[in-house]
Assembly symmetry: C2
Homo-oligomer: 216 residues x 2
């Protein structure tokens, strides 16, 4: 028995995404097996970290053989729930929303953007990528039609909570939030934030310690 998935640290889940990228690249090159060492080296991690992360999910490499690439890809996709295509709703058809719709990597990783919404009459009916911008009033019907459980919020901060509430009301259970504000959500809804300023702070911190040496 593997440990409960809810006990796996977030940092390990993030590394699984990296392993999956690397395994997919190996598979494209028709490589059948890979050692924890090779996987680790290509990502700047230690062998032990790779083995520990994958052991959470009951995957053990065999000595002298390593991990079998295709079975491990399938296992990781099943862990992520991306072994089938997940439908994604996007709210916000501004610059950021447009950037999200033109993002190339979704489909290959099991996600399909199925609808774009905005409140702005100037944007409604316009096209963003392959999609036509819908008014928020169409959210309930479209969400149910696509059985969408995941959404991306790309609206200004003051509108973000209202949009999140509307998404949750129509059955969305996971929100990727680009608005620079903290969203309140019920316990059965997961919100992940992409906070560009926080990333810059982290970058500034890491660049500082690199240049000035550790402070004591």
């Amino acid at each position: 028995m593997s440990p409960q998935l809810s006990q796996v640290p977030n940092s390990a889940v993030r590394r699984l995404s990296l392993y999956l990228r690397q395994l997919e690249a190996l598979e494209a090159d028709r490589v059948a097996t890979v050692s924890s060492r090779k996987l680790a080296q290509s990502l700047g991690l230690t062998d032990a970290q790779v083995r520990k992360d994958l052991a959470y999910f009951g995957q053990f490499g065999r000595p002298g053989v390593g991990y079998e690439v295709m079975p491990l890809i399938h296992r990781l996709r099943s862990i992520f729930g991306t072994d089938r295509v997940s439908h994604i709703l996007l709210v916000g058809a501004g610059n950021l929303g447009k950037a999200v719709t033109t993002y190339q990597g979704f489909r290959a990783r099991g996600f399909e953007l199925v609808a774009v919404f905005d409140d702005d009459p100037q944007k409604i009916g316009g096209s963003v990528g392959q999609l036509s911008v819908q008014p928020m009033t169409e959210l309930p019907q479209t969400a149910s039609q696509h059985a969408a459980r995941l959404a991306i919020v790309a609206v200004p901060a003051p509108a973000a909570q209202r949009v999140a509430d509307q998404l949750i009301a129509v059955g969305v259970r996971g929100i990727l939030n680009f608005a620079p504000t903290r969203l309140n959500s019920p316990p059965d809804v997961t919100v992940l934030n992409i906070d560009v300023a926080a990333e810059l702070e982290q970058l500034s911190f890491l660049t500082n310690i690199g240049s000035s040496g550790p402070s004591t």
Copy 2:
């Protein structure tokens, strides 16, 4: 003596950003002190986690008083290197680049976008926010003029490594990369990636375990 900053886990540094946001909100409300418990509650963390994170930086709340808000804000900004304004270069004046330039939160957090670059003759000379798009040939002069050490890469994946190399050559030491590709960089350069598909995978994982219960 506080421990070496280079030994502080990345997850703690990310939480420092959250503490700083929360403390700034308290300061705006003229709150002078805050307990680890209140700080923890507002962010969905445990008291112990907050105390442990802040102890890395030699900050200890006083029993019955808690943390003094303003001094802690100053300390955190100094840790992040955002007690002075950091100049940021942006490469890529597409939808994502435009979204980045209209992002409101930079200045308040100690970052100023000082220049935007693109290779596309159709974009050069156009304005993005308050800035005029410059050709990459002007990168060396502009970077040196602003003593810029941080940059945001918002170009398509195939162009990202070339752009990163050019930025590093002109003295940039921290890169926030939005392109869905892994960048190679020398040891004294930090690259942070914002990988939207990886965030969606994480979201899908967390939503899956929430809905189906832990697998065994």
